[in-house]
């Protein structure tokens, strides 16, 4: 009797288990397929369609009872012909790359020092890095506008102290743009680097020093290679969103710093050319797909998936 009850329960448990497992997987899976993947397919389809007067034509149409597919590659053709688009893509990649390098230069020593500081002080330091991240990013970017403007805080202070005779132009230049980007994205570089460096086995460094390496040699040949995955994760977290960044260039950039996010925005909101905006987006995805694959691979490794 007792064994019978037990086996019934265990069958019951298994059934619920299998059913529950499928439900747990299915809910987020269906959501992501519908809200993340499907929209990309729609964008791809629309990028190949033609613009009607107010609306884009459907790629598929019914003519004499036959479904006809009309593909228009003209949008992609104009992307390669018009220097506006090419320049915007190139300058986006350039600015994102510079931002990534500057972030790495600031964040690596910072994360290193943080990981080597006394263990009881680390949570507070971590919290200080995270706190600005919790306050509005939009408002913090606006703050730089206030600091860097021709009549901004920095210029006013320097003028008052007599350091400069007339305001230095800082706003709406590549300088202000990269500064704003670095400012916004540097915590995204610090956090993965710190997470990586804090876990490092310090005995390896001791061994290297015992075997006669100088501290610099030990740093370059042990610490840096061991932190490779943190460097990759941080760089991808900075580089990929920077390529398509819109708000920061809009507030801090200038005429010399046209970026692709702005071009897409303009095609969509000002020109109302949805197929063109879709083409711009498809090419942008093409540009970031390789870094994205790197990022996903790193995330999969850190989340314990099978390679």
């Amino acid at each position: 009797m007792a064994t019978a009850t037990l086996s019934v329960t265990s069958i019951h448990t298994k059934l619920i288990g299998a059913w529950g497992r499928n439900v747990v997987i299915a809910i987020p899976m269906v959501f992501l397929l519908a809200v993340f993947l499907l929209p990309f397919l729609v964008v791809f389809k629309i990028s190949l369609s033609e613009m009607d007067t107010v609306f884009f034509k459907d790629v598929f149409s019914l003519r004499d009872d036959v479904v006809v597919m009309t593909l228009k590659f003209g949008n992609y053709f104009s992307l390669t012909q018009d220097s506006l688009y090419i320049n915007a893509y190139l300058s986006s990649i350039k600015i994102a790359a510079i931002t990534t390098l500057v972030c790495l230069g600031i964040a690596y020593p910072f994360a290193y020092f943080m990981a080597r500081s006394p263990a009881d002080r680390r949570p507070a330091l971590l919290m200080l890095v995270m706190l600005p991240f919790w306050t509005s990013f939009l408002l913090r970017v606006y703050a730089w506008k206030m600091l860097l403007a021709d009549n901004g805080v920095f210029n006013n202070a320097a003028l008052a102290m007599g350091l400069i005779a007339e305001p230095v132009k800082m706003m709406n230049t590549p300088f202000s743009l990269v500064l704003g980007m670095v400012y916004t994205y540097v915590p995204f570089m610090i956090l993965p680097l710190y997470a990586n460096l804090v876990k490092m086995d310090l005995r390896l460094l001791e061994a290297a020093l015992d075997l006669g390496a100088t501290p610099w040699q030990a740093f370059w040949r042990i610490t840096v290679p061991l932190s490779k995955s943190g460097i990759i994760a941080g760089s991808m977290l900075v580089f990929i969103p920077c390529v398509g960044e819109f708000v920061i260039p809009e507030l801090l950039g200038g005429p010399e710093t046209l970026m692709i996010g702005h071009v897409l925005w303009d095609e969509f909101f000002s020109n109302n050319d949805w197929p063109m905006a879709a083409s711009v987006a498809v090419v942008m995805v093409g540009l970031i797909i390789i870094p994205l694959a790197f990022f996903n691979k790193y995330q999969a490794e850190s989340t314990g998936g099978r390679p």
Binding site: I25, P241, E250
Partner: protein
């Protein structure tokens, strides 16, 4: 082992980065009390811009809408994110796992203009086909949830990974059903992570400009959209006051939450220790 010069470099570097991170925030707050309408020319201390804010219908209505969206986003992101984190943590093999992981993680880095545009084009196609949904609250909520879910998954997943599976196994061995194990054992153990994920997605939603700009409809202008359009035109005292209020509320909230959480953590550690002592 660390030399004096080394310590000086390390402290100096960290201090410089913190100044870099906090200087703009301090400047925002200081100049929100500026009497002069020229934001950066100091004209004496005043609260006039805070008084003006009380009559700023655009900001207040936008704020109410943003709060509603952020609250809903926090809830939906946490539910979906927890399910996604459980999936990634528990089920190492199922068809489409790589695709699943890729789709969960990609919104973390995907430029927002792409997320916004693609969702909008899909929703518009859907609307042509079915007659709904109208753009507004629900469409912005959907977009924010996609982004929020990715962040919530990361937060909950990292907690699941540091958790020891022995408690869940024990509950299972003692005959608890899977749902009982989840609600009585797993959920209490990840509740803090869920709370921080909720707060994080709430603030992300409250802050978002780009996705909202693509997905909003007539009469659904969120606060960040209003602030962004004002900031685009130039410096505006109203933006400084909003910034100061946000910073104050967020700082208090985050500090309170972290104190509360570290207390709960200590209490739990004590309880666990007591439980282990009893079993000895």
């Amino acid at each position: 082992m660390i030399s004096k010069a080394g310590r000086l470099t390390s402290h100096g570097w960290m201090a410089a980065v913190f100044v870099f991170l906090y200087l703009p925030i301090v400047a925002l707050i200081v100049f929100s009390f500026n009497a002069s309408p020229m934001v950066t020319n100091w004209g004496g201390f005043s609260l006039r811009w805070y008084a003006a804010l009380m009559d700023d219908r655009e900001i207040i209505d936008g704020f109410k809408l943003s709060l509603r969206i952020a609250f809903s986003t926090g809830c939906s992101s946490v539910v979906l994110g927890t399910l996604a984190a459980l999936t990634l943590h528990r089920f190492k093999r199922f068809p489409g796992r790589t695709l699943f992981a890729g789709m969960v993680n990609s919104p973390l880095v995907m430029p927002e203009v792409i997320i916004g545009l693609s969702l909008l084009l899909m929703l518009v196609s859907l609307q042509r086909l079915l007659g709904f949904p109208e753009r507004g609250f629900s469409t912005i909520w959907l977009g924010h949830t996609l982004l929020g879910m990715a962040y919530a998954t990361v937060v909950v997943l990292s907690r699941l990974q540091e958790m020891s599976p022995s408690l869940e196994e024990a509950a299972q061995d003692l005959g608890a059903l899977p749902l009982q194990v989840f609600f009585l054992v797993t959920l209490p153990m990840i509740s803090q992570a869920i709370a921080s994920a909720w707060l994080l997605t709430f603030t992300l939603s409250l802050d978002d400009v780009v996705i909202s700009a693509f997905l909003n409809g007539p009469g659904s202008t969120t606060m960040p959209i209003t602030i962004f359009s004002r900031a685009r035109l130039g410096l505006s005292p109203s933006v400084n006051t909003v910034a100061t209020l946000t910073v104050v509320v967020v700082s208090i909230g985050v500090l309170a939450a972290s104190v509360f959480m570290s207390r709960a953590e200590k209490k739990r550690a004590l309880e666990m220790a007591a439980a282990y002592r009893k079993t000895d």
